[in-house]
Symmetry: C2
């Protein structure tokens, strides 16, 4: 694979249910997690569900960090998808685990990029000007 | 695992580079993909990068659909994370493949939920009132 990014899928269980249902706290925490990883925050969106649970996504210049919570299960599904070598998604992951008072997390890291060929890391943001050939309209 | 959701991670290669760099087209397409899957759209955010590439996330009541494009590689990383049995993430995935003029996609479907125990599907949205015990503040 020509790897562009690293994607951690984390299952956080046994979390503090109050935190999982507090949109302001989750918003602050997810944004800080992005900063902890070294990412550049581009935009974010958060939504509280009725009767409980919430979703949040922080778009970063290096992809995204997202959370979906089920306070009724003490569970959150959290994704840390980052590209480039300037960002460490594990820093964000460890920060979130701590802030959600999560005693146990299960994670898997998946490489994102162009499948096939020998494994190599390709640049996230080429420094030279656009040179790709556009298809005819 | 007590499964709450299904998460398809898709690598789209050989895509139409113009489409991958057209934020209005990607926005329209990603929102329609969400509808095609049967999801309820909650919010969305899209961002165009300089000199090229874009990110987009559609938050749905059933989790999220996201895209990050690298027109210079003809590549897009697309996620379809849905919960509940009313939504089919594969419908969104097939729709996106077609709209990005993607000749080849590589996908993996990962179950999201609470690890451990026998495999079962647990309700995405319990119908009864909140009954979870909050931890003491």
């Amino acid at each position: 694979m020509k790897q562009l990014g690293r994607h951690i899928l984390a299952e956080f269980t046994g979390c503090d249910t109050e935190v999982l249902n507090n949109i302001e706290q989750i918003k602050t925490t997810l944004l800080e997690a992005a900063r902890q990883s070294g990412a550049t925050i581009v935009d974010s969106v958060f939504h509280q569900y009725n009767p409980y649970g919430l979703s949040g996504v922080v778009v970063i210049a290096e992809s995204h960090i997202s959370i979906h919570t089920w306070p009724e299960y003490g569970y959150a599904a959290v994704d840390f998808f980052t590209c480039g070598d300037q960002v460490d998604p594990w820093k964000a992951c460890r920060y979130m685990k701590k802030k959600l008072a999560c005693p146990e997390m299960h994670t898997q890291e998946i490489s994102r990029g162009i499948p096939g060929g020998p494994d190599e890391i390709i640049p996230h943001k080429p420094l030279d000007k656009p040179s790709f050939n556009r298809k005819p309209a």
